[in-house]
Every structure is written in C-alpha cells, then in structure tokens.
C-alpha cells in the first residue's frame, strides 16, 4: 500500500489502539504492524509527538520478565481527539468508498 496513505493514518491507528487499552511501545507497534505494513521505527517519534501534544501520558510498570516497561495511556484530550479523528475518518472513508464503487449519491 502507498506509504503516504499509511503515514497519514498512523496517528489515528495509534490513538485507536490506545483507546482500547494502555500499551507498552513494543506491544503497540505489534498491534499496528500486525495489520499495516509500516517501518515500525517511525512509531516512537509519533508517540513522542502525541505526548508533547498532551494526547497521551506515560508511566512505568513492572513486568514479570525483566525491567519495568514504559506504558502509554490516552489522556482525556487524547480520547476526545481519537473520537473526532475516528468520526472524520469514517465519514471520509464512506464517501471515498461510495465514489470508488460508483454509487449514486442521491438516494
């Protein structure tokens, strides 16, 4: 798939995964690359940016295996952003699909 597409939607994918549960970096990367083929290295700078913008916070949590891991959690602001971006994406995707399938819009 076209990499410009992927990069554009990466942010909402990250927000969406975090809306379901808090994740540590490796886990989050896994959730996303399981479905979308991306350069996984680009997710960490994105997480940093989301943190700077106040959409996520981080906390350390002990793990059974080895040292504590850095978890990412959506803030209230992040939740709202996720909802907004999701709505926007759904509307956009529906329009594009309708257009590509040549459906009549006048129903």
């Amino acid at each position: 798939m076209n990499i410009q597409f992927k990069k554009g939607v990466l942010e909402i994918c990250v927000l969406s995964v975090l809306a379901h549960k808090d994740c540590y970096g490796y886990e989050l990367v896994g959730e996303i690359s399981k479905r979308i083929d991306i350069s996984e290295g680009t997710i960490y700078p994105l997480l940093k940016r989301l943190k700077d913008e106040g959409y996520v916070t981080t906390y350390l949590q002990e793990s059974a295996e080895g040292p504590p891991r850095k978890y990412y959690r959506l803030t209230e602001r992040g939740r709202k952003e996720e909802q907004d971006q999701k709505d926007e994406w759904m509307r956009f995707a529906a329009s594009v699909n309708a257009l590509l399938e040549g459906k009549d819009d006048s129903n």
Binding site: Q4, Y24, Y26, V29, S39, G41, P45, L47, E65, G66
Partner: protein, 197 residues
Amino acid sequence: MTQTEQEYIRILRNRLEGVLPREDLEDLLSDYSEHFRIGKASGRTEEDLCRSLGSPEDVAREVKATHLVKKAEKTRSCRNIFHAVIATLGLGLFNLVFVLVPFIFLVVLLAVIFLLGVAFAVFGPAAFIFSLLQILGIPSFAIWQSPLAGAFFSIGITSFGILLIVAAFYLARFFYHLGIRYLTWNIGVIKGAEDIS
C-alpha cells in the same frame, strides 16, 4: 542495511546529537532499547528487529525535521525557518519541488516588495526636495513639468514606499505562519527518501 541493535542506536545518536535536547534524545533512544530488549526476550533476532524497524536514517531525518519546524514555530527567526526548510528538504525528492520552489519564490517576492518600498521611500523625499527648490526658484534638477504637482506626487510616492515596506513585513509574518503549518503537514505525509518498506 542496519543489522544490530548497537548500530541502530548509534546511527540515531550520531544523527540527532546536538539537534534534540539531551533529555529528549536519551528518552527516544531508551524507547528503541526497550523495543530491542522486549523483542529479543520474545525470541526474535536483532537482525529481524532491525528489518521491521526500518531505516534509522529515515527516523532521524523525520525527528530532526519535526523538531526544527517546531523550533521555528516557537521562536520566529530567519535562521530557524531556514533550518526547518533545509531539514524538510531532506525528507524526499518531492520536497525539492514542493518546499524549495515555493520557499524561494516567496523569499524573492518579499525581497522585491521590500526593495521597491525602499526605493520609493528614498526617491520620494528626494523628489520632494527638488520640487521645493524648483518652486522657490533655486536652480536644481527640474524633474517635474509642474513643480507643485510634483511635490504632491512625491509625497504620494513616499507614502506608497512606506506602505510597501510595512506590507512586506506583514506578508513575511503571514507566510511564516502559513509556511510552518505547511511544513508540519508535509512532514506528516511525506515519506523518507530511502524507505524500503
């Protein structure tokens, strides 16, 4: 192609040292260290992890561009916007056309407006003085047919020059804001040049 954790981290560090604040850099590098640590603990090889991560050079380029654009947004200066534009250019061939060309066009346009303004603002008062001398009957360059009309016209030219200079500054400010927004968007969408995913 990067194949080991050490090399991956080293490339990131080399490229971002002195660009990012120390604390941010260490924070970012520790994210990648954790990624390798957990990946290896789950049985993957460093080579495999590196392949999935993709090129560290691309990550570095993108982080650098994002940081410099944010810096230019926070502290407005010619130097900062210049650095931001240069860093964004590195993100791909596309940007040579879609960042460099508009940037040069705007710089030239603003320079022309500004210099025209300066020219008018200098020529206007000079012409005004010559008109006055002519009215007073003192021999000098007679540049107008009618010195009185010339005097008024000179005032007009001077005002127009000052207006152009002010306009150049406001336009520069406007394009600066617009430029920052465009660069931010651009980085979000444009891929690194040698991304092989």
